[in-house]
């Protein structure tokens, strides 16, 4: 066996399992779901080809589709900057040399370990209209509380507030980025009379801009796929609120897709939704990368 054939054998041997896994568990299901998106399929009876009818229904008739797009976009636009900004602020604070730094870092990271479902249940109790902790506290001050979780105006803001609590992962990534900023730059700028704000604006932020960009991209992708938080939130409200309720005010795209797929077994419709989401995420990521050239600075 010559060297080239031997190299080829090793190549296939090492990439083969991963490639096989990708083909069986990613590529094939994706292509199959593309086919399903053109069919009416309820899992148990044979699929029926219906052309683009699923897409037409989603775009023009489905009462939930555009609402779920709207809810998800609002969440993304509000939550991602707050989450990234909050994580950055925490990382900046935890990057300072204070006593018990390790302890504080652990404490602030801790909520990220908790499952989102547990968060949703606990926050559900806090924000409950009748007898909830927040309204009870407000009533002590003579303020009549609101139906936080059961009114369409407040349910989404409550969910956004809930999601901000778990900022541990982006915070840790920011911390890593902050620690790679050369100390000499700060020392030199201090000697030149730069204040804290100037150092942050002209040294820290430009140098960690790739990290900010990474967290932003991951945050956007994550927010477009939110599911567990919204699902657990509705379940925690009891039977009076349907998943995505009240009045579809927390009907995230991912939750809507799940309901179509596993609540009602409209696999064709759910597949169409999944492909639309995929296309949107690709578009938004491409846009992010294009836009990032203006403000992200790489060392090389």
């Amino acid at each position: 066996m010559n060297a080239r054939r031997s190299q080829l054998l090793w190549f296939w041997l090492f990439t083969g399992p991963a490639l096989l896994g990708f083909i069986c568990f990613s590529l094939w299901p994706m292509l199959y779901s593309l086919w399903l998106s053109l069919c009416q399929d309820d899992v148990v009876t044979p699929s029926r080809f219906i052309g683009l009818r699923n897409y037409i229904y989603l775009f023009f008739y489905d009462p939930a589709f555009w609402q779920s797009v709207k809810v998800t976009l609002i969440f993304t636009v509000v939550q991602v900057p707050l989450a990234v900004g909050g994580a950055l602020a925490m990382a900046l604070m935890l990057n300072e040399k204070v006593r018990g730094l390790g302890f504080w870092r652990s404490v602030y990271f801790l909520p990220s370990i908790l499952p989102q479902a547990a968060f949703a249940v606990v926050f559900g109790f806090i924000f409950q209209a009748d007898g909830g902790l927040l309204n009870e506290l407000l009533s002590l001050g003579g303020i009549k509380g609101l139906a936080w979780t059961t009114s369409p105006e407040w349910a989404l803001p409550v969910l956004i507030a809930m999601s901000l609590w778990a900022f541990g992962y982006p915070m840790v990534i920011f911390l890593g980025g902050l620690q790679s900023v050369p100390r000499e730059l700060y020392e030199a700028s201090r000697m030149d009379g730069a204040g804290a704000w100037a150092r942050l604006r002209h040294i820290t932020l430009p140098l960690i801009s790739p990290v900010i960009f990474f967290n932003l991209v991951m945050g956007v992708i994550g927010s477009l796929k939110v599911f567990d938080l919204a699902y657990a939130f509705s379940v925690a409200q009891g039977p009076n609120i349907q998943p995505g309720g009240p009045a579809r005010s927390t009907l995230f795209y991912g939750l809507n897709l799940y309901q179509q797929a596993f609540g009602y077994f409209h696999m064709g419709l759910a597949s169409a939704m999944a492909w639309l989401l995929f296309a949107f995420i690709v578009l938004i990521t491409v846009f992010n990368f294009r836009f990032s050239r203006r403000w992200v600075h790489y060392e090389n």
Partner: protein, 435 residues
């Protein structure tokens, strides 16, 4: 063959051996089936009556040593998903809990048991079932479920709260107006020391209550063939309006979103219109909760309109042991088994059991007015057997009803918008294609 290639072959063989070894070790842990014994699987929703069902399974196995029953408990919220997923994987259980509300949804993999029911009609006591239940057991004249228990919409009320407010208890002659008058008299605003009482709960989030009013006002959700939504009719809108005005005009139900959690159990709600028989067990476990039931108040057009729904057992269409599964289904629905469930707090689907309970002397658990509950049978209406009924009601109609309760839509707009959206859905997803 190069040394490298040999070592690759060696490692591949080692991995293969390890995989086969692990598979064999795992596989061999399963106890071998007893010779001559048939194993059947039985899927159930987790229930407080779990001990009762496990006792039933043990008694059945004792009676039929040739059959081994494997029970699988599934949480309520995952039940239908689990069944459909099992159907897709070709691993359906032999016997599963099914109800007339879901039968259209599960029909593609449910066995038509008409032949078994008619063959063993005498043995199962088909005539012993209330006629309304027997009707609900069938779909297009065919039997798919053998019934074990049921739900019936009733008027539930807290006797202590009625006494304290000096309001006479509900009678069978009550109308919507009486409900309003009593509800208002029972409502007690919250103060610093008193969490207050609402005259009536308002069931939100599903059709449990508002569909009663729609029907009692002469409306209906769909045409009989299920092809068109009728919530935009004048009658349906009257029903929706009453549902809304319980709070917004008459003030005896909590505003949307402020319904007290477990209000009836916590004695913060004096009445429930509709309710669910499954909760009787919970009510009776609450010390001091003195409750009873009455016929639903009459609507402007008719008394009928409350829901009658039943649940029992179905055999999967792919079961390899339908006869054994059928034996278990018969065992679980025999009068003694139904009586055991009724005793824990439920309504009987069998006449003989109902009569025995009512004749029984000595103290009886709540509700006392079982006569009214059984009278309500003839006013109960099953929900339409539309293959997408649950989805349509929860996903399309309910969000509009939610908006109405929040004052963002009028009942007229709610009916009109909901009907339009439902009809678009039916047109797109009807099994016969777009209309």
């Amino acid at each position: 063959m190069s040394i490298r290639f040999r070592s690759v072959l060696f490692w591949l063989s080692a991995i293969l051996l390890a995989v086969v070894g692990f598979w064999w070790a795992g596989h061999s842990r399963k106890p071998p089936p007893v010779e001559g014994q048939t194993e059947i699987s039985w899927y159930l929703i987790i229930t407080p009556l779990r001990d009762l069902y496990e006792e039933q399974a043990a008694a059945f196995e004792k009676l039929h040593p040739e059959i081994k029953v494997n029970i699988y408990w599934v949480p309520n919220s995952d039940y239908n998903v689990k069944l459909k997923t099992l159907a897709a994987a070709g691993q359906l259980p032999d016997l599963f809990l099914c109800g007339d509300v879901w039968i259209s949804y599960l029909l593609p993999f449910t066995r038509d048991i008409t032949d078994l029911v008619l063959r063993d009609a005498e043995e199962i006591g088909l005539d012993d079932y209330f006629p309304e239940i027997r009707r609900a057991m069938q779909l297009d004249g065919k039997y798919y479920i053998v019934t074990e228990y049921m739900n019936l919409s009733l008027l539930y009320y807290n006797r202590r709260l009625f006494r304290e407010a000096g309001v006479p208890e509900p009678t069978a002659e009550w109308t919507w107006d009486d409900l309003i008058t009593a509800g208002q008299a029972l409502t007690r605003p919250a103060t610093d020391d008193d969490p207050g009482v609402w005259g009536s709960s308002r069931v939100e989030g599903w059709w449990g209550e508002w569909l009663i009013y729609v029907r009692q006002a002469g409306g209906r959700a769909f045409t009989p063939d299920g092809r068109r939504c009728l919530l935009d009719s004048e009658e349906a809108i009257t029903g929706l309006r009453f549902y809304l005005e319980k709070s917004s005009k008459h003030g005896f139900s909590a505003p949307a979103g402020f319904e007290p959690l477990n209000g009836f159990v916590n004695e913060r709600v004096a009445m429930i219109v509709g309710g669910h028989v499954n909760f009787w067990l919970n009510y009776n476990e609450m010390p001091g909760l003195d409750w009873d039931v009455q016929l639903l108040p009459k609507g402007p057009v008719k008394r009928a309109g409350g829901e009658i729904a039943m649940a029992g057992y179905s055999i999967s269409s792919t079961s390899e042991h339908p006869e054994e599964a059928w034996k278990l289904a018969k065992f679980l629905t025999r009068p003694e088994a139904v009586a055991a469930i009724v005793e824990r707090g439920s309504l009987s689907v069998r006449r003989s059991v109902a009569e025995a309970v009512m004749k029984k002397e000595g103290p009886r658990a709540n509700p006392h007015n079982l006569e009214a509950a059984y009278r309500q049978f003839k006013y109960g209406e099953p929900i339409p057997h539309h293959e997408n009924f649950i989805e349509i009601m929860l996903q399309i109609v309910q969000p509009e009803v939610d908006l109405m309760l929040l004052g963002e839509l009028t009942p007229e707009e709610t009916g009109r918008i909901a009907a339009k959206k439902v009809n678009e859905f039916i047109a797109t997803f009807s099994p016969d294609g777009p209309q």
